[in-house]
Amino acid sequence: MTAPLLKLENISKRFRVGNKELAAVSDVSLDVAAGETLGIVGESGCGKSTLGRMILRLTDPSDGAIVFDGRDITRLSKRAMRPLRRDIQIVFQDPYASLNPRMKVGEIVAEPLVNIGMKRAEIAARVAEVLKVVGLPAESADRYPHAFSGGQRQRIGIARALAVKPRLIVCDEAVSALDVSVQAQVLTLLRDIQRETGVTFVFISHNLGVVRFLCHRIAVLYLGRVVEIGTEAQLFETPQHPYTQALLSAIPEAGAGRRGRIPVPSGEIPNPINPPPGCPFHLRCPRVQNKCRSEIPTLATDTNGQAVACHFPGPNAESPHRAPEDKRMTEGEAR
């Protein structure tokens, strides 16, 4: 295997909240090969966006190193980072907030192009081109972000990231606001671009269907730590970590006759300011043992390359995919 395009080595990020410390990301190590799509899934608030922002050097990691294309960029100055920005782009999770309200959409999408010194005429053509591929009418270029719907704004963000043909794109919930038909268009587009240009994606998403469609490998984060990592097939077919299993079983599937409640893992959601000792998941884990309450499990890789951080890994007792009738639950279990 060739050297990975992006390598995160024991990255951590701690925020100060009041007079306490919040560990948003703890000791995460990941490799992303060129041309690969790495999916990152995990509970809301587990540090996915923070991780993405660190890759872009928008926040500085508290510990660890980020290596891009063989080059340690952890300590690069803002200025030294700038040439690299052409290669690394991001689609932000908050589409509206990341669009300057005083800039027309055309200018927003043109911004990275201007930065690489493209000529004006070329820029205009390129802007029209990317707007079109994300499914926005050409006259959008002339309007301001506030006049767009949520999904359209998100597509503006995607268009901006695509414009310079970067080598790595961090997509933070990049298709969450799109309806499935547009989403399908965009996903197909991303995959086709990847096939053609070999662009690498770090794809943060909650939509496991999307993740499964697009990603080659998937990392599952829980409370700032990678709890499981493996190929798409490994993760969806043979999840080892109980949290991964819980995630898969909570997916609502489209179709008739599925109405009702989905069971959710019971137990307390751990607090990153005051994380529980031992395995972060032990409070909600159905397989919890005493060891889990005191020892943090390390990420252990099996022969197939699937890695899991669990003292008692293994397939779920139940099948990962629920039968429709399982969904009906009693009141008390709802919380």
């Binding site: 606001a177 799109l178 469609f213 959601i269």
Partner: protein
């Protein structure tokens, strides 16, 4: 009685180059204790519909025709103050973009508390307690600590959950949820949906749920409204959408869902893109992208016709809808 009754709602925005009609003749209703799912193309006017109901279109948006009746009162005739009194306890909304929808300089806990104290829903101390409880119910860990955070200190999903807590604070009779779970992982999403179902069952809350997630629709929507290009193109019972959808757009839409349970190599897509508001073609607004379009589709606007029990579709070719599979 109907909790919410939209009839013939049209909305246009004043832009520099004249008004742009964004909603045209939108009609549907929500009964108490019912979840109505609203799905549709991005930009089709789902959010605008909900803003129009809330009376929050802003200074450039205008309801040009139609009525919005909430428990029988026509909201379009109410004064600002009367509307305000309704917002919160009678109807509440979860906004689509939590990132910009929270006040950046107010603690999130206070933002929830305010929703209650402003309506004298309960005494301030009680409101505070309830706010923490709500945060707990929407799945925010250490809610008492997190209540003191400012929005920028929270993750995207947490902000979204704060929005949900705000909307639920006064136990509204009508909840308009504009993509409430897009930023949430499936476990928390399930938790939130369950919470909404609880409230619906306990208090008879009616829900207008805008979402892209067909799984969510399948799971909790009693009835579904499909929108395209500022119009309602189909209205049906929840399951009926999946089993016998009568509009080509809906059918094509359903095929585009990426599945988590099996690997797909390709996602079927609808060719072309929806035109910008105001640039819709004459006739059926979908006809340019519709594989079964015929000449008539380009000439006149199809009416919303009943195709089955409680099932309406805006298409001239509903009878022939099953040909679609063959065409696409």
């Amino acid at each position: 009685m109907k909790l919410l009754d939209l009839s013939g709602l049209s909305v246009s925005f004043n832009t520099l180059r004249g008004p742009v009609e964004v909603l045209k003749d939108v009609s549907f209703d929500v009964m108490p204790g019912e979840v109505v799912g609203v799905v549709g193309e991005s930009g089709s006017g789902k959010s605008v519909t909900s803003l129009a109901i809330m009376g929050l279109l802003g200074h450039s948006g205008k309801i040009t025709s139609g009525n919005i009746a909430l428990s029988g009162t026509d909201l379009t005739t109410l004064s600002g103050e009367e509307l305000r009194a309704l917002r919160g306890p009678e109807m509440a909304m979860i906004f689509q973009e939590p990132g910009t929808s929270l006040n950046p300089v107010q603690r999130v806990g206070d933002q929830i508390v305010e929703a209650m104290t402003e309506h004298a829903f309960c005494p301030p101390a009680e409101a505070r307690r309830r706010a923490v409880e709500l945060m707990d119910r929407v799945g925010i860990p250490a809610p008492d600590l997190r209540a003191r955070d400012y929005p920028h200190q929270l993750s995207g999903g947490m902000k979204q959950r704060i929005m949900i807590a705000i909307a639920l604070a006064c136990r509204p009779k009508l909840l308009i949820a504009d993509e409430p779970t897009t930023a949430l992982d499936v476990t928390i999403q399930a938790q939130i949906l369950n919470l909404i179902l609880d409230l619906k069952d306990e208090f008879g809350m009616g829900v207008m749920l805008i979402t892209h997630d067909m799984g969510v629709v399948a799971q909790i929507a009693d009835r579904v409204v499909v929108m395209y290009g500022g119009q309602v193109v189909e209205r049906s019972e929840g399951d009926a959408l999946f089993t016998r959808s009568a509009h080509p757009y809906s059918r094509l839409l359903l095929r585009s869902i990426p599945s988590a349970s099996q690997r797909q190599d390709d996602l079927p897509i609808i060719k072309g893109t929806m035109p910008a508001a105001g640039r819709f073609p004459d006739g059926c607004r979908f006809h340019e992208r519709c594989p079964m379009a015929m000449e008539a589709c380009a000439l006149s606007v199809p009416p919303l016709t009943e195709t089955g029990p409680a099932h309406f579709a805006r298409c001239f070719r509903t009878e022939a809808i099953d040909e679609l599979e063959a065409l696409a």
